[in-house]
């Protein structure tokens, strides 16, 4: 049997049923029905030039360069839009084809401005490349440059439409991929151009500056705005984005040893395809800023001064061991990083557990609500872990709850918008109108932190409508009858009162979901709120009830804010679990690690991030090792955190940038950014993605795993790992879900190992329903009559430490204005440009104000990350995921006009 070379066919194990035989340039080729002549040629290694074709976009047929001739009929056709047909005899370079193709390129060249020498596309320009291949130098036509306005007002991209060849890729990327609706064709004939509505500047359009168009532009018409470098990088190196939990595949453009450009990688089957977001595209500026840490520092007489690696590591090791010896394992703690690699986090917690005998290990994932997820993880016994984002586009219905995805995880929002565009019902549950609302079938505008009540109400309504999936509940679950009874007892009128959602709206939502298997996209609005764990339970109940589990496009898509949030947890950088999320109190698991590590491990859980601060405040914690986190900026009540950490005897900070936290460190160890080291990240889908260094670390900085490896040796570890391969070997041996980590390149998936029948091929336990809980209506206090909602803006990630170092992000008008409803705006007598002071029980912020006509009266939106993330002043340093904690998402405030 001849194998079919088509990627899709290979994946499906195709046996050439119904395949088409044709000849291209005399070579007989086989392709599946529906393939275009261009695809058939490309799959068989025959190159046809084209400017408008892109495998990620619908065929378009605009540039006409892919013209080919059918020898049998003499017909000329654009191969990108011509389906391959049996018995075609295609000539891709017949004299006729070449003649017309050359003339089309001559026309384009004669219309092009002569600015190649300063064009940032440089030698990557596809027009130039095709002209070169066709031997077109001088066009022989008089030049007719098509001058158009040059736009560079925004800090991210330059639009020089004089160089535009109207391939339409930017417009199609905007419409088909990122669904932004910022640009379309304007004008006709020679004047045609991609334009915003009324040709407004991009910053006044709905453009999100994701830069997807820019990476696709074949010429220099769209280029990144970069004051540091204009031209062609020496080389392009694939890597994985270090910002959010989506884990986009990137291609880093490197010139000399500097990253000068970032584009989506051209790899196949990546999370992001050809898209990126503004952070991924432009905020990597932080890699090259002068605030990078380039050599180890030690505090001497209160001043930080440079030191050798040997000296710095010696100091760190000796001081830590001394504190631990003197005050016991509970006096030391380790804060690992949801931004560092799996290998690094593994090594990090191993140092803590083996060499310092402490389980006081945590990572930045705490900030994103990990503690609320732990019970759910237990409920599924680790099943339902792997969930491809591509599945969202196959969903029957989607509910987005507490997730402002267009801002937090823009690449996820593209998939949701594409799904909605295709007609998939999309329900947004959010107190605020989000970027997704306009694409949604409906929004349920609930009161903050009442998601639990709403989801239970929705479940109850579906049960009343008899819309549960009985086959599913019978087969895979237990306790459905009790659950149903509890739901039927719910008072839906109360649901309406508590949530503020009308019965009609709830009914409409239930009708959208009736009989469907649903994908729930869950974000920080749920994970960081007061009833996080209960809400997740309720959502999972709803999944079970509707049978929305066990296949692509259904179930809980829990979003991860940080690139390796999942991996850091998996690697055991948490106070209550060993690598592989194996519970600390599971003696079998512990024994396995004790044997492997030749050390005893305490079964008692260590301090989590909040407890670390509390214990430091009390003076019980004496030494802290921070790797790649900036708690002084990221935690609530930063002043309180600072006072607490200043009490410590010894603090080591291993990071890549000067931060609020490095300022109070005793030893600073310069680490390497993800682009400067090898490793792996695990994204929110459960995809473990490997990468190699694109550039060397700056100055004397070292990859973090190397630093830890050296430190471990100084702390008494018998030998160094010395290489990532050996580290991965140990992980693969001890962590079954990471059995694939030895692969070391490309991507592998986390291995699920649940005992639940739902997630196994056969046999196994049933999943049980969680009890139905209800919440009461909350009154508003007189002293704090408004409710603040904290939220992200897409230009920043998390606390904004790294993104805040991007000159382009800073330059882009971001005054971080707090948004008020029109009613409150009027009630407080505000004018444009007015500043206000917001005060909560914990602190205050002063910001400019903006009127948001979509905001409900009484709500105030405060953007995070900007102004050194001072929004954190407002909320209290309460533990997350505890039933009595008020959560970090909202808080009551009062407002004073300044």
């Amino acid at each position: 049997m001849i194998p079919c070379l088509f990627q899709d066919c290979l994946a499906k194990g195709c046996f050439l049923n119904g395949h088409i035989n044709l000849s291209i340039d005399g070579k007989t080729v086989i392709c599946p029905p529906g393939a275009s002549v261009l695809e058939a040629a490309e799959e068989n290694g025959i190159k046809i030039p084209t400017l408008c074709h892109h495998s990620g976009l619908e065929p378009f047929g605009a540039c006409r360069l892919c013209l080919v001739e059918d020898e049998n009929t003499g017909r000329l056709m654009a191969s990108c839009v011509t389906p391959a047909a049996p018995d075609m005899a295609v000539l891709t370079a017949s004299p006729r084809v070449i003649k017309h193709r050359r003339n089309i390129v001559r026309l384009m060249m004669a219309e092009h401005p002569e600015s190649c020498i300063v064009c940032s596309k440089g030698n990557r320009c596809q027009l130039r490349r095709i002209a070169a291949q066709l031997g077109i130098g001088e066009t022989g036509l008089y030049p007719m440059p098509n001058y158009k306005a040059y736009e560079q007002a925004n800090p991210f991209m330059v639009r020089d439409l004089s160089k535009c060849v109207l391939c339409g890729k930017c417009i199609r990327a905007d419409h088909e991929l990122v669904v932004a609706g910022a640009i379309d064709y304007s004008h006709r004939g020679f004047e045609s151009r991609p334009a915003t509505v009324h040709e407004l500047p991009l910053e006044l359009s709905s453009c999100t500056f994701c830069g997807t168009c820019l990476s696709m532009c074949p010429t220099g018409a769209l280029a990144p705005k970069n004051n540091m470098f204009v031209g062609t990088p020496d080389r392009e190196i694939p890597t994985v984005c270090g910002f959010c939990g989506v884990g986009c595949s990137l291609s880093m453009g490197v010139f000399s040893d500097t990253v000068v450009e970032v584009n989506p990688s051209r790899g196949k089957n990546t999370v992001n395809g050809s898209t990126l977001c503004v952070r991924g595209h432009f905020a990597h500026d932080f890699l090259n800023v002068s605030q990078r840490l380039t050599r180890p520092l030690i505090r001497r007489d209160g001043q930080m001064s440079p030191a050798s690696w040997d000296e710095a590591l010696d100091t760190a090791a000796t001081r830590f061991l001394a504190v631990q010896k003197e005050s016991g394992p509970s006096s030391v703690a380790f804060l690992g990083s949801s931004k560092c690699t799996n290998e690094e986090n593994y090594l990090f917690q191993k140092i803590a557990r083996v060499l310092l005998k402490t389980n006081s290990v945590d990572n930045g994932g705490y900030l994103s609500g990990r503690s609320a997820l732990a019970p759910l993880y237990k409920r599924t016994n680790g099943g339902d872990r792997v969930r491809s984002l591509a599945g969202l586009e196959k969903a029957e219905a989607i509910v987005v709850i507490g997730a402002d995805v267009t801002e937090t995880l823009p690449v996820v929002s593209y998939g949701l918008k594409r799904a909605a565009q295709k007609g998939t019902p999309l329900i947004v549950i959010d107190p605020r109108q989000t970027g997704l609302s306009a694409h949604a079938s409906m929004r349920l505008p609930l009161k903050p932190q009442t998601d639990l009540e709403l989801i239970n109400g929705l479940s109850a309504l579906l049960v009343r409508k008899k819309a549960q999936n009985a086959i599913f509940t019978d087969h895979f679950t237990k306790g459905f009858e009790a659950f149903k009874e509890a739901l039927l007892k719910l008072d839906l009128e109360k649901t309406g009162r508590v949530t503020g959602v009308t019965p009609e709206a709830l009914d409409e939502a239930a009708e959208y979901l009736r009989g469907k298997s649903v994908a729930f996209v869950v974000g920080g609005g749920v994970l960081e709120q007061r009833y996080a764990a209960l809400t997740l339970d309720a959502l999972f109940n709803l999944c079970l009830m509707t049978g929305s589990l066990g296949h692509a496009g259904a179930g809980l898509y829990v979003l991860a804010q940080e690139n390796n949030q999942a991996g850091a947890w998996d690697m055991g950088t948490v106070p209550d679990a060993l690598p592989g999320r194996q519970p600390l109190n599971d003696s079998l698991a512990r024994e396995k690690f004790e044997r492997a590590w030749q050390a005893s491990i305490s079964p008692d859980r260590g301090l989590d991030l909040i407890r670390m601060i509390e214990e430091a405040e009390k003076g019980n914690l004496k030494a802290l090792y921070v790797m790649g986190e900036n708690p002084l900026r990221a935690l609530p009540q930063p002043d309180r955190v600072k006072r607490a950490l200043e009490k410590l005897d010894f603090i080591v900070v291993q990071d890549i940038l000067k931060t609020e936290t490095t300022e109070i460190a005793d030893v600073v160890l310069p680490g390497a950014a993800f682009s400067e080291k090898g490793g792996s990240f695990t994204n929110l889908e459960g995809r473990i993605q490997f990468f190699n260094p694109a550039v060397p670390p700056p100055g004397e900085a070292k990859p973090d795993w190397e630093i830890l490896d050296l430190l471990a040796r100084k702390m008494g570890s018998p030998r160094r790992f010395g290489s990532l391969e050996r580290l991965r070997g140990e992980i693969a041996g001890l962590v079954p879900m990471y059995a694939g980590i030895n692969e070391g390149s490309g991507a592998v998936w986390v291995v699920e190992a649940s005992d639940k029948e739902l997630f196994k091929n056969e046999g196994g336990a049933r999943v049980s329903f969680a009890p139905v809980s209800s919440i009461e209506e909350e009154g508003q206090s007189d002293s704090y009559p408004l409710t603040v909602i904290l939220g992200s803006v897409r230009f920043h990630l998390g606390s904004g430490t790294r993104t805040g170092y991007s000159g382009r992000v800073r330059e882009f008008h971001q005054n971080g204005a707090v948004e008020l409803s029109p009613q409150d705006w009027t009630a407080f007598g505000l004018q444009a440009g007015d500043s206000v002071k917001l005060t909560s029980a914990h602190g205050s912020v002063v910001r400019e104000t903006a009127k948001n006509s979509a905001l409900t009266q009484g709500l105030v939106f405060v953007p995070e990350a900007v102004h050194n993330n001072d929004a954190r002043n407002l909320i209290g340093l309460f533990p997350l995921g505890q039933p009595d904690s008020p959560g970090w998402k909202t808080c009551p405030v009062r407002l004073e006009k300044l």
Binding site: C63, M108, F190, E191, S192
Partner: protein, 595 residues
């Protein structure tokens, strides 16, 4: 029903509207009332009569008398003489231009006498806004027959047998198109009527819609039954407000009469449709662009396949035909394929409506059997070229078509012959040009149009037509170079071969046909820097012919730059330094002394 002694049918087409027919109508009604004839004479506003050049026109029945070029001032005399005293007003009759004799009756006028009306059979006879008048002329009989007595297969067979071909330009067999549509078993199918007539100088579809909207609706209903489609769109350009208004009235009335909507005529067949107004892009006449426009997108063509028959409006199978095509269908069903196919030539059956315009005496709408020679249309019906000028060429098929010179005048108008001669049937635009037309300038006009209307999507059309336009500009400005002709020919070949849609692929046709028949004019422009038709002002050098100059000074008085030197009783002369070739003196001279 009320009976009137006499009917005055005033043309209410767009052409006569423009020349004031509505004012005449109002005045006529008032005058009839005033003279006490309100109950005896009925004034009817009809659709386009077709003889636009003579507008406002009025036909008075029962006599069938034809009055032309009416003004409000003519009305009192008309009423008191014709309607009151029964004495026709001869001065308002049509006057044969050659023999100067009066022709009182409409059907004796050559313009009308030489036509065969199928599509336009109701023009000027019925009030297009009254469905009863259409029904009285056997309207909706065909629909009743098709819906109640015929199977879809029979309808398709009948249309196939008739030999009807698409009147939008391409000439694809309508029966075959319907057969392909009927083969699709999709749940939703659409009918589409392309009324986005945009060729400069073409107004066939507009007139059909204005004069007989129900004929189009009936055709669509019959075709919908054949195709088993239940919803349709008529895409009509917004620049045709009268057509849109009459269509909407017709649709409303048809719904009231149960001819549209659920269970039409009790046949169990449901069909309804709406008018979608286009915003005036020429390219929206291309079916895929038209469909994109209906979907709310920018009207840009997309590659075919998939053809609209497989994936059309909102992705559903769509049968799309032109206004005139649909208007033929009721007559085919009513009178039979045999009758229809007896008209026309071997391959082109039935009649074709042409919009006759340009430098021809009888500008207007003409319907003739397929295969009628151009000479018959231009000279017998059109009345020849005015002002004793010489015929030079006729542009067929608008910007996508080509021009034909005098030696092709005996060419029969059918699809194949026209293509062979370098023109196309197109939708029926026929622009006659006399000796004063510069063919290079004419090609430039059409290229400018195509470039302006290019959607900008594909490179050859966007860049190539612009380049060709620039070259033509250069030639007309006197900067042409010998190799320009070669470049024009080469670019034409590129664009024809590689453009995405019909607009681009046919865009170079005016250049190719002028190069074919009038290459010498290009060469005169380029090599001798001379415009034989004296149109390209930059190539003109005006001098005064002393033989012809009568020393009248008209030229001197109109010259805006003081280039004409003249004193009383002296010969005029022209200072070439000051002359800006504005043509003022040339036009002002009554003695052809300036050349």
């Amino acid at each position: 029903m009320k009976v009137f002694r006499s009917h005055a049918l005033i043309c209410g087409g767009t052409g006569c509207h423009a020349s004031g027919s509505m004012e005449v109508k109002t005045a006529l009604e008032a005058e009839l009332e005033k003279q006490g004839l309100g109950e005896e004479v009925k004034v009817v506003e009809t659709g386009c009569n077709g003889y636009c050049a003579a507008g406002p026109v009025m036909v008075v029945y029962p006599e069938g008398l034809f009055y032309q070029k009416l003004t409000v001032e003519d009305v009192p005399e008309l009423v008191s003489e014709h309607f009151l005293k029964g004495r026709p007003v001869e001065r308002l009759f049509y006057k044969e231009p050659e023999k100067r004799e009066l022709i009182p009756e409409m059907l004796d006028i050559p313009f009308f006498a030489n036509q065969l009306l199928i599509v336009l059979r109701n023009k000027g006879l019925i009030d297009a806004e009254k469905i009863d008048e259409y029904i009285a002329r056997d309207g909706y009989q065909a629909a009743a027959k098709a819906l109640l007595e015929m199977t879809p297969e029979e309808i398709i067979q009948e249309i196939k047998d008739s030999g009807l071909r698409g009147r939008g330009g391409a000439g694809f067999s309508t029966g075959t198109k319907l057969e392909l549509g009927a083969r699709s078993k999709a749940e939703i199918k659409y009918m589409l009527c392309n009324a986005d007539e945009g060729d400069p100088g073409a107004f066939m579809d507009r007139s059909v819609l204005e004069a007989d909207p129900h004929a189009v609706l009936e055709g669509i209903i019959i075709a919908a039954k054949a195709n088993d489609a239940h919803y349709g769109y008529i895409y009509c350009r917004a620049e045709y407000p009268l057509a849109v208004r009459r269509l909407n009235i017709a649709i409303e009335q048809a719904r009231e009469y149960g001819l549209l909507g659920k269970d039409i005529l009790g046949s169990g067949f449901d069909f309804d449709l709406e008018v979608y107004q286009g915003a005036g892009a020429f390219v929206c006449g291309e079916e895929t662009a038209l469909i994109a426009s209906i979907e709310g997108k920018r009207g840009m063509p997309r590659p075919r396949p998939p053809f609209p028959g497989e994936s059309g409006i909102f992705g559903y199978p769509t049968v799309n035909s032109n206004v005139e095509t649909y208007a033929n269908i009721p007559q085919i069903i009513f009178r039979g394929a045999e009758w229809y196919s007896s008209i026309g030539t071997e391959t082109s059956k039935g009649t074709k409506v042409f919009a006759l315009t340009g430098t021809v005496n009888n500008i207007g709408l003409v319907e003739v059997p397929m295969g009628t020679p151009l000479r018959t249309i231009i000279y017998d019906i059109g009345g020849g070229i005015p002002n004793k000028k010489k015929f030079k060429a006729v542009q067929m098929g608008g910007p996508s078509g080509g021009c034909l010179p005098e030696e092709q005048l005996d060419l029969p108008c059918d699809y194949e012959s026209l293509v062979q001669a370098g023109a196309i049937m197109g939708s029926g635009g026929m622009i006659v040009m006399d000796q004063d037309t510069c063919m290079v300038d004419m090609a430039r006009f059409f290229m400018d149009f195509v470039q302006d209307e290019s959607c900008g999507k594909c490179t050859p059309c966007r860049e190539g037509t612009k380049r060709m336009l620039q070259i033509l500009d250069k030639i007309c400005d006197g900067h042409g170079e010998p190799e320009d002709i070669t470049i024009l020919e080469e670019l034409s070949a590129d664009i024809k071969a590689s453009a995405l849609c019909g607009l681009g692929q046919t865009g170079p046709n005016p250049i190719l046909s002028t190069l074919r028949y009038f290459r010498d004019e290009y060469e005169a422009h380029i090599l001798e820097k001379r415009c034989p038709a004296k149109r390209c002002v930059n190539l003109l050098k005006f001098t005064v012919d002393p033989e012809k100059c009568t020393k009248c000074g008209s030229c001197f008085r109109v010259c805006p730059t003081g280039a004409v030197i003249w004193e009383k009783k002296q010969l005029a002369s022209i200072d070439q330094e000051k002359c800006i070739q504005c043509l003022s003196c040339f036009s002002a001279c009554k003695f052809d002394a300036i050349d």
